[in-house]
Point group: C2
Chain length 343, copies 2
């Protein structure tokens, strides 16, 4: 009764099949082996319900077929969809995912990376916020939404073009005087370009605009005050607002209702991210949609593709505009809302 409880090993299979250890290994790995042996080994494998121990395998090969994904959490819908689509891409390539939620904790981010560093995982995909993050050169790393140096590829949507698109849409929908609302950390990252793109769009279209930017720990009430101050005689002075995220757009929408402003009749609203209700129902505001499935595929591709001439330092994937009820867009209305109901 040596290893009653434990799982069967190659040695067990070899004994059962009456062959040598190496032969079993070859069968398992699809290397050429005599037909009669092959059958016997396969029978034994089935009989014992044997399965290779991938950790022992990894110990030999320095390869674990596991990658670590670092995200702040899986509560925010953008992060959860990222997790979901990256998981799908990894599954296609028979890789497993170690999920590391960091809660924006810089120290935890660093710890997870160190944990992954020593050949415990084959690579890391990280959406992180620690500006001082140290990542060794020899661990494949792909960053999302933030450039971490020339050697580390960064995948993001085309945030600049997204901001520009928002400006163009608002202009095309008749806006003359718009606002940009943003809340976010001081960290330099890709989503910051949304503002630049929006400003650029407004300028080239001759659209007058105003920006209100809050830092992470400012209370949301600041926005409420800002909006109130722009309401005179019960009428808001903006006819269009671009919010840096759908989440903010959602909060702003609630505030506008509280202030008795009608959306989209009095003021139109565009968000960013492309978040849907319950993950798969309708968009909850008109929005610039991030191509999350494509971003996921790109991350995994860049991480696992060997022998790439050079890893591009930054990959920007195209965004699209989607109607979500907070803009005047009669033509798209039925078609779009129908398309979004399913899936």
């Amino acid at each position: 009764m040596k290893k009653e409880t434990s799982a069967p090993t190659m040695k067990d299979v070899a004994r059962e099949a009456g062959v040598a250890l190496g032969t079993v290994s070859k069968v398992v790995n699809g290397l050429p082996v005599g037909d009669s042996y092959k059958v016997r080994v396969e029978d034994a494998i089935r009989k014992l319900n044997y399965q290779v121990n991938s950790y022992a395998q990894g110990l030999k090969a320095n390869k674990t077929y596991t990658i670590a994904l670092l995200v702040p959490n899986t509560i925010d819908p953008f992060y959860s969809s990222l997790v979901y689509y990256i998981n799908i891409e990894l599954l296609k390539r028979r890789y497993r995912m170690l999920l590391c939620t960091t809660d924006y904790n810089p120290q935890l981010e660093q710890e997870y990376i160190m944990m992954a560093q020593n050949n415990k995982v084959d690579g890391i995909i990280g959406l992180t916020y620690n500006p001082d993050l140290t990542v060794e050169e020899n661990t494949p790393f792909v960053a999302i939404d933030r450039s971490m140096g020339p050697k580390i590829p960064c995948v993001a949507c085309d945030n600049f073009a997204g901001g520009q698109l928002a400006a163009e849409k608002l202009a095309a929908l008749g806006c003359k005087n718009v606002a940009f609302l943003r809340i976010g950390s001081a960290l330099v990252n890709e989503p910051n370009k949304r503002k630049a793109g929006f400003e650029n769009g407004c300028l080239s279209l001759g659209l007058s605009y105003e920006c209100k930017i809050l830092s992470d720990d400012d209370p949301y009430e600041e926005f409420e005050r800002f909006l109130s101050e722009h309401i005179h005689n019960g009428k808001i002075s903006f006819d269009g607002i671009f919010c840096v995220t759908d989440r903010l757009a959602y909060q702003v929408l609630n505030t506008l209702h509280k202030l008795h402003q009608r959306v989209p009749e009095d003021v139109q609203l565009i968000g960013f991210d492309g978040i849907r209700a319950f993950g798969s129902l309708d968009y909850r505001c008109s929005t610039i949609v991030q191509p999350v499935p494509e971003m996921a595929e790109m991350c995994v591709d860049l991480l696992l593709r060997e022998n790439m001439m050079m890893k591009p330092p930054l990959v920007c994937l195209p965004v699209t505009y989607a109607y979500g009820g907070t803009t005047l867009e009669a033509t798209y209305r039925t078609e779009e809302s129908h398309a979004h109901r399913q899936s």
Copy 2:
């Protein structure tokens, strides 16, 4: 230049510190060691940035400090919050999470379980739908929302009490004639008890009720037809509706608006799950809230606690009611909505 690229090993540390391999192991594992040796080893560890290879560790100990979590996806907000809180609980215990999204695919569910079976992970937490799932006795397993036999603990919220609570709330809010709407698989699972609890509540309160139950692949339009049929002269005959999930409640809410019914004035609506907008903002309907953090903690506890006399076959955790704008609840209104804004 033997292993230039690879991570430093215990052997490297031993050489660097001028001590034997076993001594390093002891220092790493906190076993008693001479002070002077200890210092030298720790210095070497720091210098080489050494970190134990937990896979080699696992190979010896048959323990990997990794558990697998099976969920259909991370898109649905209920699943994503489950993933999030389980991740937190595992982190507390220094365990890692292998995330397996199954997309409701019975075969994939079985594959993931087989993968986990052979000491690759220390245990499995699974929210699965395959009725024929095979799980070996020796792999610790905790099921969520579905009983998988007497030997496997199942963790769920108190679905029956939740249904009952919904009935009580509707009655207390003045409803006389209510409906229960459900969409779901034929699979026997815990959430099914929501209906029984609701019926039980209605009966004991003398509330007249009607049930409409769709199977998974029926189109949502069936509900729309059902509701239309109960509208006479522009007035709906129900004054209260209990939906089996917040997701369904959200869809029903949209439909009711389309049918020109006012919520909550004409008809009140209660959902189930406690889903918030963007994961952490306001509830989007009045709802029975599942205690997800507590469920997560219970899952991990049951999975990792050794030497438990007997694992309880079913653990039901208490639910609460939360106001979310689709019921008449003037008193709670300000207090609740304020509490939910943050966090």
